[in-house]
Homo-oligomer: 312 residues x 3
């Protein structure tokens, strides 16, 4: 099970920024390429007031700040140059669907964003799909309708480009980054996970093409069961089932540094055993890149490359 | 709005130490110089038992430890060599004015420190001012009297060298570093901030020459209002109004790593718009230096230098 | 007081992994050698499901994961190559003696581990001792019996190789890494520390040869008293008294980065003053190595080497 995709963590939610310019991003795409990555996914195009592209719409309606550089343009160009598919991550208000439970407002904003983005970047050869960036673990509020409406609109404007979601499992490690705890007693059961996600999948069939559950919120020995359920559900509703192999370590008090290679390998092998369709990671540039500010990432890259060679 | 000053975070309160020797410090002053820095400010000369210079007085009265190197001497020499002004930061007991509310004791200690320091280092050509290191956000306890007495004594012994304070705003991000939270509900109002600081400024007029509010405790869109109030208050009482542009990121769970360049730029532009007199940063060596242990800092340096070139 | 030993933090409990391969480990042993290190101590051979060697026994009984590399073999070879003594750290279940208070089960597992390990690696020339990896600060549960039974068995199978424990002091900084606090009100008294450890030492005499208390859980000015008690107790029961000089900083909100050199020096000088027999550190590879992911560690190495030169 090789990692062939990565998120691009711009705009970052809880991972400190590396302050890279165009030169560093270009080099990073080269490193990705050498590791076999063919897909990059912008985690979100905006979060609260921060934007990855100069959205006239969000600057006006949400008071968002004009970004110093158009990262969407840069990433599309780099994707084209290095032969990758780029997925565009939608805007996450960080409030309407969150504190306020106003999913309709979150949908409305993003319908505009989709139109704006497709008009601006839709002709870029590397524009390969959409990422619905609102991440949940349960059938929370209006999430099913949000995914359905946004997925349908993404596909409608773009001639059917694929849509991706990346939920997490409400497991014992489902803890906010700013919470110092590492685990909790209260976790979802396999049965509840299966039941709720079947309901969600039923509601988003046709609107969402790919589901890539995050693999870091349950214990390692629990992965096989969850992967099996997720794969079966995806099959049942005609979706692709990828794994989002987290390359940072959720078991350590510093939130977050690169994961121990052994853990990542274990998760990839569990995904392979479950027959998942593709592995992507969150994310290469901080946690696996040879030029990451965390040197552990470069060593992880080397260990992973040795593993690929061994598999070949 | 260019950054022309930086704190030197020795003795550090909550930022892990880089363990630099004289060679690294010399190189760092060269990096600072290339960024346009002309002023360095020792954040404090001692904190609890830790000292930046071998204070016979504090070793005797407070049981402080003899430091392995005289950093005040080193910084004065480096400041002279690289053409910078050095501000000496007073001693912070971390207890008398804090837990115990005994501002008189804090003042008494520092009156001795001022005499001791001026006798030892007063003839150094780079000795350019004083930093009153007790940082507050509100009219807390005896802070007005402390600033007044210490400021007057600093100026009296040194022939009127300028005195600086760097308060913070009691905003939604006013959280202790060891507290895992990133924001809080309870924050000062603009009106209370203005009223309390007018009272403080009235009490310290003539004793404190410069006020450099820290810019990291309020949200980015709130800065314009606070900067305007601070500038107007400083004008009213004949003080200079600098901005202390924090170069670390308060929005991330790791406390603290270098700030995202976009955020620093936004803060500097708000300071320029408000007509502030000078920008300093907390602080260069961890968060903006090309040789920082945090490689994100070197990238921030590069982004900032590109911005300077663009402005020129 | 020079540092002549270090722990090897595999399997790590709360320090993020560096993802080194054989090449990096070899280089690290060279760095250690240049610093005068003659003793390396594996902190534990397993923790919960994670293993440092492919223990057939623990994979079967505890469902432990097969590790990607046999670190015990690697460390024994590197120790031999670089002329060091290797201490093998026992398995820490992280549960039986911890949550469940089932010390008998922890002992039973480790009696098997000792046999398995001695059969597999006992003929390695560098195998020089045993580390009983269950770390306590008080006379907790069945800890005395655990140390006695495991120590006796280690010595019995190995022809009397020395056994080491490294307790901590239940001081004001005895805080779990995942707890954001830096200190607490409740701390052991000198008298209680002395009384409880005399009882423990009386119970483990003959089974444990060396005690190396961790030096990071009390304030710096408290070290002299604790060192004196520990040394006197060790003398009373015929044990060697080492110090485990922690090279990470417990006073900072990031848990953990390398310690400030001044603090480490202060602790080493207190250990020398107390006449302790040897200094080891937790641990070289993250916190003192020139190739550590934390560049502060390389600077700490340089400061320490200057200090060694000064002492010579």
């Amino acid at each position: 099970m090789q990692i062939t995709g990565t998120f691009l963590d711009e705009i970052s939610h809880d991972i400190p920024h590396q302050n890279w310019g165009e030169k560093e991003w270009d080099l990073d795409f080269q490193h990705m390429k050498r590791m076999g990555i063919d897909t990059v996914i912008l985690i979100r195009s905006g979060y609260r007031q921060w934007l990855a592209y100069p959205s006239a719409y969000l600057m006006k309606t949400e008071g968002a700040y004009k970004p110093p550089v158009d990262l969407v343009r840069l990433f599309l160009e780099l994707s084209e140059r290095h032969g990758m598919q780029f997925y565009f991550g939608l805007y996450d208000s960080g409030k309407y669907w969150w504190d306020q439970g106003d999913y309709a407002r979150e949908v409305e904003l993003n319908l505009h964003v989709i139109d704006e983005v497709w008009a601006a970047y839709g002709d870029a050869p590397a524009f390969g799909g959409w990422y619905l960036s609102q991440e949940v673990s349960r059938k929370t509020g209006g999430i099913t309708g949000l995914y359905r409406k946004l997925g349908i609109h993404c596909k409608a404007v773009s001639g059917g480009l694929p849509t991706l979601i990346s939920p997490y499992i409400d497991g014992k490690k489902a803890i906010l980054a700013k919470d110092p705890s590492l685990s909790r007693e209260d976790a979802v059961s396999l049965e509840d996970h299966q039941r709720e996600w079947r309901e969600i999948f039923a509601g988003i069939q046709g609107a969402v093409d790919i589901v890539a559950f995050q693999d870091g919120h349950v214990d390692y020995h629990e992965l096989a069961d969850y992967f099996a359920i997720n794969k079966a559900l995806a099959d049942e509703f005609g979706m692709q089932c990828w794994t989002n192999a987290e390359s940072f370590d959720r078991d350590m008090p510093i939130k977050f540094l690169p994961i121990k290679w052994e853990k990542l390998r274990l998760k990839l092998e569990a995904a392979r055993a479950a027959g998942l369709d593709k592995a992507i990671t969150f994310e290469f540039s901080h946690f696996m890149s040879p030029q990451s500010a965390y040197p552990q990432a470069g060593h992880l890259y080397n260990r992973y490359q040795e593993y690929r060679k061994m598999l070949a």
